[in-house]
Symmetry: C2
Subunit: 205 residues, 2 copies
């Protein structure tokens, strides 16, 4: 029966991939179950055999993206000895992640209606995980005596993450258009690195 489950998992994977592409290009509400089924040459009913409903499918895609992203972070973030390298890695990874799934996140950012409630929970989970990872980076750095002691690393990281997010939002809202163009992303990335540079210096002795 392991084989059977493997088969199921493979098909589930396929569905997730196809869905990801659709959601990436057209967003949640402009993607229909028929289209996904069509892409996979299967019946719509089969989708409902594997996933309870559309929102659960979307959430599954999102969860996959999130865990992949967090796995990348976790794998390397604990190996860094230098705080700046660790933070830079986080910013770079995040940037890459956003670029790769550019439309996906733009769609669910604001304008989309009818988004399943649970995605905010996932966003929260990712945020917590990032917070925890970066806080640990600070703690070990403090332990090594490289930066001055910090009474509350989580608070520091929280502020930093909000600030980094603000760089993105700021660059967006300065243009009349509500969505960030792809060409802005590089500018945003540069600004983020600048902020990071100053911020980390501010944590030093």
């Amino acid at each position: 029966m392991a084989a059977v489950n493997d088969q199921q998992d493979i098909k589930r994977e396929k569905i997730l991939e196809a869905s990801h592409q659709r959601f990436l290009h057209y967003g949640y509400s402009k993607t229909t179950m028929n289209e996904i089924a069509g892409d996979l040459s299967m019946s719509k009913a089969l989708l409902y055999y594997y996933f309870p409903d559309k929102s659960q499918l979307y959430i599954a895609v999102m969860r996959k993206l999130a865990t992949d992203y967090l796995k990348t972070l976790e794998n390397r973030l604990n190996t860094f000895t230098n705080l700046k390298e660790a933070f830079t890695f986080q910013v770079n990874t995040h940037h890459e992640f956003i670029v790769n799934n550019y439309n996906f996140f733009d769609f669910f950012r604001l304008n989309e209606q009818n988004l399943p409630e649970t995605i905010w929970q996932i966003v929260g989970e990712v945020h917590s995980a990032e917070l925890s990872l970066l806080s640990n980076a600070i703690k070990t750095e403090v332990g090594r005596g490289a930066i001055k002691p910090v009474e509350n690393p989580e608070e520091i990281v929280d502020v930093l993450m909000d600030a980094l997010h603000g760089i993105r939002v700021g660059a967006i809202s300065q243009k009349k258009t509500n969505f960030p163009r792809k060409e802005h992303l590089e500018e945003i990335h540069t600004k983020k690195l600048l902020l990071l540079d100053i911020f980390i210096k501010g944590l030093m002795y």
Copy 2:
């Protein structure tokens, strides 16, 4: 004829005040010209005697708020000798400004439709003015040798302002609700001061 113009100006002021209250409480699209006229016990047609249309009226209110705000900044920002004090004053003033006009800005932040195009121009002007003021603060501080030379103060300030804005947005989007509750504003303010503290240390030698 100076007297006549004075009278006109006074009435214009009254209209602006009443409009401000309405826009503050109900936003642009939920405020009608009839309501404003009713508040002032005048006919709606008279409003059109003083202002060409609704959007110009809104813009006039906004411009008044903006210039008052900038005047407050300008008056004191050039007198500071200490960079941190200058920045802190900016953050405090901005915070106070937002608190006082809480609804006004929440309304035009995103959800509002039909907002006159020109308000984004005003936002841009305010942003530029703040940028210029804070950049000057940095320049004089560099001139005094208190912090290390900066090749591009505008860039630094730009990043800082985006970061500060991110604190606000971040605190908002963490809650399910799309609007920041008033009780969040204090938390936001505290976080901003923390960020400012670290950031300025990062600019020092």
